[in-house]
């Protein structure tokens, strides 16, 4: 059963169609990868789902409810949380307060201070950052800042998580750790939709992949189907082979 569904989703920046007529769906409990060359519209699609940009053309539904016209905080409280390509932690705040913010405001119901603190602590423990609770977020390494973002997103008690290039800039050990973490999150029952360039990660954990190119969906399917898809190789995967050779 699809938990998130988009129909005819379109976004123009001036004359440029950043996302054009994209239909997509993500099923409950899935890990879906969203790939494509730079500028394909992946982050724009995420921004439309999380309402960072208003959705004016097309329709997105979450658990059957229309998301058009909602504000980011409402989307978050409905159960969709996200991380950002460029980490957006609150630099001057300690790690714990960063996560506490998600716990306090992310859930649809008002929760007590003690509950929020407990949830924040749990989220930090989940991403293995408990020892750094009191450290100002800006003093952390990139990998750990990404963990803070993840913990903050988890503290909002999401049913669905949008991960925007979680693995970018991480070394290969860190990528493996992140992959493990993402699988652990899915096992908690949280559906995952992720933008990623690290093919090892995509091929390793995604059940299904959607490919965007110039704002259009050009392919969709299992890892194997995508890996053999001629068009995808031409516009995206091929480039990497060239770059690698």
């Amino acid at each position: 059963m699809p938990i998130l569904e988009g129909q005819d989703v379109t976004k123009h920046f001036g004359g440029l169609a950043a996302v054009s007529h994209v239909d997509f769906h993500v099923d409950q409990g899935e890990i879906v990868g969203l790939i494509g060359p730079n500028g394909a519209g992946k982050t724009t699609l995420f921004n439309l789902i999380s309402a960072a940009f208003p959705l004016k053309s097309g329709e997105i539904r979450f658990k059957g409810r229309k998301l058009n016209g909602l504000k980011p905080h409402q989307i978050c409280r409905m159960g969709i949380s996200r991380t950002f390509q460029q980490t957006r932690i609150i630099a001057d705040m300690p790690v714990f307060q960063n996560v506490l913010m998600g716990a306090f405001f992310g859930s649809p119901n008002r929760i007590s201070g003690a509950d929020a603190a407990r949830e924040a602590a749990q989220a930090l423990e989940f991403v293995e950052l408990s020892e750094m609770s009191a450290t100002p977020a800006k003093d952390l390494t990139l990998e750990n800042q990404k963990r803070v973002e993840l913990a903050r997103a988890l503290a909002t008690k999401p049913e669905m998580l949008l991960l925007d290039e979680l693995m970018a800039g991480l070394n290969s050990t860190e990528v493996s750790e992140a992959m493990e973490l993402v699988t652990k999150i899915r096992d908690k029952g949280i559906t995952i939709f992720m933008v990623e360039h690290v093919m090892k990660a995509i091929m390793g954990i995604c059940g299904r992949i959607i490919v965007l190119h110039h704002g259009e969906k050009i392919a969709e399917g299992t890892c194997q189907e995508i890996g053999c898809n001629k068009k995808v190789i031409e516009v995206y995967l091929g480039e990497e082979t060239h770059a690698g050779s």
Partner: protein, 329 residues
């Protein structure tokens, strides 16, 4: 051991605060009129600086509309508590001043808080420059005089009202800072988009806090009007009431609750000392530049740094003392 418990931080800070409050509350019994006037002035600036910091400190939205809300507050008793013909009892007038400023701030906030950075600052500045001539025009056109007289309640009455407002604003600022609301505002200041995506209703938090900060400025304006007897648009909507709270908060430091308080005290004192020299604005400007360049965290950051160092020393002594105690038992 009892002494140790009492000197622990938990009791020390509230104890000192209560002591200061008792001293301030009893001051009119033995002080002469001169220093009392000065104290009223100090209180007023502290309230303005703290209520400005309440909103602009954590969110980073630099408002220059303070004088507009202050002036609206000044004009509320000028209309409702006019000399010889007060329309409402005094408490109602003060509540009205707070409410009117609150509503104005809500309107302004709702219209402008989408603007960021310098655009917001310029708009709030423009607001002040727009309100003053309008009031000036209306007064001349419909009232037929430049100024108005306000009913007097005596200097001690003004003193206690101002002290009451001071306590109210400090308590509110303290509670806000500690609450989830304060966390939300800090989040907005740190990264507004991230805060919104974590479920913070950023517009609501910003607008309501801006309104609350405006309300305190309005109440302060109302008490000040009673203190002045005579009010006119150029004294009520004076640019100084926009810039001074900002300067005081900058110099005092916005990271700590007491930052704007010491900033306000320092500046109000300097102002009092230098007012006769004509150069005081020049000196203010110089001080501000020095602070922005060399101490961006304000005096509060200096104090905190000193406290950390002192704290380390005290902790060491404490440990030593503890060890001794263990040895004794």
């Amino acid at each position: 051991m009892n002494i140790a418990t009492f000197t622990s931080k938990k009791f020390l800070v509230p104890g000192v605060l209560v002591l200061i409050l008792v001293m301030l509350a009893t001051v009119p019994l033995y002080i002469s009129p001169g220093p009392r006037t000065l104290l009223i002035d100090f209180f007023m600036y502290i309230i303005l600086a703290v209520s400005w910091t309440m909103f602009s400190g954590p969110t980073g939205y630099i408002s220059l509309a303070s004088a507009a809300f202050f002036g609206i507050g000044v004009y509320t008793p000028a209309l409702l508590y006019a000399q010889g013909a007060p329309l409402l009892p005094l408490p109602a007038v003060l509540v009205a001043a707070g409410l009117v400023s609150f509503c104005c701030a809500l309107l302004v906030g709702a219209a402008t808080l989408r603007l960021r950075g310098i655009f917001f600052t310029m708009f709030t500045f423009g607001l002040l420059e727009a309100v003053r001539p309008i009031i000036q025009y209306c007064e001349l056109e419909f009232h037929g005089a430049r100024g108005r007289y306000v009913e007097s309640i005596g200097p001690n009455g003004v003193y206690y009202l101002m002290l009451f407002a001071l306590v109210a604003v400090m308590v509110t600022a303290y509670l806000l800072k500690r609450s989830r609301w304060g966390l939300a505002m800090q989040g907005i200041g740190g990264n507004e988009e991230a805060a919104a995506h974590m479920g913070v209703d950023t517009t609501r938090v910003k607008v309501i806090t801006f309104g609350l900060s405006g309300a305190f400025m309005g109440i302060t304006g109302a008490i000040t009007a009673i203190n002045w007897y005579y009010v006119d648009p150029s004294s009520a909507f004076n640019l100084n009431y926009s810039f001074l709270p900002l300067l005081m908060a900058l110099v005092g430091g916005m990271g700590q609750l007491y930052g704007p308080v010491i900033g306000a005290l320092g500046f109000a004192y300097l102002r009092w000392v230098l007012l006769s020299t004509q150069y005081y604005m020049l000196i203010f400007g110089g001080i501000m530049i020095l602070f922005i360049l060399f101490l961006p965290g304000g005096l509060a950051s200096l104090i905190e740094r000193g406290r950390h160092r002192l704290g380390g020393v005290v902790a060491k002594l404490w440990k030593g003392g503890g060890a001794e105690q263990h040895a004794n038992t």
